[in-house]
């Protein structure tokens, strides 16, 4: 056990230490002295924009996944026969067995200007709507496969299983007698959902959101494949530690999501996401 702790915490610590160093612009070497200059650089508006952009994307993906996953999870938990439920489980987790990169690229093809979605939109005569969408400032782009909108679609798809499963588990843990009691006391099904099912399964939504939020925050494949020059945290880290060798700044960028997730987890704990443990 100890070696796991050492390796895990040790690597995090190495990362943290690096963020307190500083890259000398003239020599191109890393100065191994404790300094806050790198963090000052992080707090510059261009870098903060990157972080903000990523956080907004993570939030949007989380909300979208919650809205899509809940009905699916509800059907699986409450209405599917045991046999159908098994098949649905397989259907939900099967994509996770395949290569993540392959799936991202598949979506890139689907969303491309010459791709099947474009063709379909053309068929429906909605070209104008798609163009308008792509011209929206900040989130549009030259095509769906090279825009934040496209990234949003792919993120939502990729993390969906991680949202479905915790919600489904939470819903299954709501005892049938609670729902019967609610009906017995005069509540019609929508009221039972609002007062009993939803509040009691909400911790599952929060648990799923931890996945979608953190995974979006730290991801770099999707921004790399479908993004543009407007960087997300993943691309920033990649570029800083790669070409410019600015390890301290890369590290500082990485510490950002770590801090954000710590705060998120503390809030999630308040919402009861960890009660089942």
């Amino acid at each position: 056990m100890l070696y796991m702790l050492v390796v895990y915490l040790g690597s995090l610590f190495a990362l943290l230490i690096n963020s307190f160093f500083y890259l000398d612009g003239f020599t191109g070497k890393i100065v191994h002295q404790f300094t806050l200059k790198t963090y000052a650089e992080l707090l510059q508006s261009s870098n903060m924009q990157i972080i903000l952009r990523t956080v907004v994307m993570a939030g949007a993906v989380t909300i979208a996944d919650a809205l899509i996953a809940f009905p699916l999870a509800y059907y699986m938990a409450k209405h599917a026969s045991p046999k159908l439920k098994t098949w649905l489980y397989i259907a939900v987790t099967l994509p996770l067995w395949s290569s993540y990169l392959v799936r991202v690229y598949a979506w890139k093809l689907i969303l491309a200007k010459e791709g099947i979605l474009s063709w379909f939109v053309n068929l429906l005569g909605l070209d104008g709507a798609l163009n308008w969408l792509l011209h929206l400032p900040g989130i549009g782009g030259s095509s769906l496969s090279l825009s934040p909108i496209g990234m949003f679609i792919v993120f939502t798809y990729i993390w969906l299983p991680y949202m479905i499963l915790p919600i489904q588990t939470a819903l299954e843990r709501v005892p049938r007698s609670f729902l019967e009691a609610s009906g017995d006391l005069g509540a019609k099904p929508p009221a039972t959902f609002r007062f009993i099912t939803l509040p009691l399964s909400f911790p599952g939504v929060v648990a799923g959101s931890i996945f979608t939020f953190s995974l979006t925050l730290g991801d770099f494949i999707v921004p790399l494949s479908l993004g543009n020059s407007r960087f997300f945290i993943g691309q920033a880290v990649y570029s800083h530690q790669g070409t410019s060798g600015n390890i301290p700044l890369a590290a500082a960028f990485t510490v950002g999501p770590v801090v954000i997730m710590i705060i998120y987890l503390l809030i999630a704990r308040k919402f009861g996401a960890f009660d089942a443990l």
Binding site: S177, E180, A181, G183, D184, L185, G186, A187, F195, L200
Partner: protein
């Protein structure tokens, strides 16, 4: 005709594929009575209760609530409320919010709700508990909250599904008395499901004995105990001796099966002459079980078979009782106390 039957079952059946959970049940529960449905697990009593509440629909037959056919109505349209076996208290709400749930659903204004909640808390003897969470309560307290939550809606009938099962003996006995008191005070019909025959005998005005989806007998506790109509009823309610065949013939002269309650048999010395209008037989005491208030003897009869005898420990001590083991004695009981049974 003044028909104040609170709940009526007419030919009610509930089949799950080939399994006949409820098989052609007829019954009438009088308004204001404490009616128990007693039977072993799987006898159909809980299924019947769930059909009255609306959580299950009968496969055939009708269920009437005060002459209204409710067989197909969903639970939220029936004027009945249920106290569940696991209480089903909503963990994310306070005790007060739990109790007020039914009123909240019906959009009763807050001040009125609060007043009703306080009234109910008084009734179930849990004052000042409104702000606690269910997880902070003991089993007995939760049970009372569940009761309050059901009663606050003033239902026409209250259904209770083995509500005391999870409580220890002393608490259970105390709650039995409290439930009975509340029922008398509130005056509504209580339909109570249990497998504990002592509980049914203590609390009920009338009992329906269930077995394998059918009702074996309906009657007052005394009726069922002293005059069981069937072999099952005699065996299930109270401990009883069931005598049939050759043994019956030896004792009574006929092979018709009969039952005799253990406390109705006297153990006397072999030499004693049985009086008129009695049956008697002889045997040796095989086992003695001391139970505080009374002692139970297992007597092996000469010529086969055995009888269970229960005697109150009026003048004797446990040492005396235990020394009876192995003794040869005579058993005498009054002819009036045997109950002839259909097989």
């Amino acid at each position: 005709m003044n028909n104040n039957s609170a709940v009526t079952f007419e030919g009610v059946c509930r089949y799950f594929g080939d399994v006949r959970a409820v098989d052609n049940v007829d019954l009438r529960v009088q308004d204001g009575e404490f009616f128990s449905m007693l039977g072993p697990s799987g006898s159909g009593k809980t299924t019947c209760l769930r059909m009255i509440a609306g959580f299950d629909r009968p496969t055939a037959g009708r269920i009437l609530l005060f002459d209204q056919d409710v067989s197909q109505l969903p639970p939220y349209e029936r004027d009945v409320n249920t106290v569940f076996q696991d209480y089903a208290l909503f963990p994310h709400m306070t005790v007060g919010e739990n109790i007020a749930y039914g009123l909240m659903i019906r959009k009763v204004p807050k001040p009125e709700r609060q007043r009703s909640v306080e009234e109910m808390l008084e009734l179930v003897r849990l004052p000042n508990m409104a702000l606690r969470k269910p997880s902070q309560l003991s089993g007995g307290q939760r049970q009372r909250v569940a009761l309050a939550r059901a009663l606050i809606n003033h239902p026409k009938v209250l259904l209770l599904d083995e509500p005391l099962g999870a409580l220890d003996l002393k608490l259970r006995q105390q709650m039995q008395i409290e439930l009975k008191t509340i029922q008398k005070r509130v005056g509504i019909t209580f339909i109570y499901v249990t497998h504990d025959q002592e509980e049914a005998l203590t609390m009920s005005d009338r009992i329906a004995v269930f077995n394998q989806g059918k009702i074996e007998q309906i009657g007052t506790p005394t009726d069922i105990y002293e005059h069981p109509a069937t072999l099952f009823a005699a065996g299930f309610v109270g401990v009883s001796n069931l005598i049939r065949g050759e043994l019956a013939e030896r004792i009574t002269g006929s092979q018709q099966p009969f039952s005799i309650r253990p406390e109705k048999i006297r153990l006397v010395p072999l030499a004693e002459i049985p009086g008129p209008n009695t049956f008697s037989t002889t045997g040796s005491v095989q086992d003695v079980i001391y139970l505080g208030i009374f002692t139970r003897y297992l007597v092996e009869l000469d010529g086969g078979g055995d009888l269970v005898v229960a005697q109150q420990n009026l003048e004797t001590t446990s040492m005396d009782m235990l020394s009876a083991k192995g003794q040869r004695i005579k058993l005498i009981w009054s002819c009036d106390h045997i109950r002839h049974l259909e097989a």
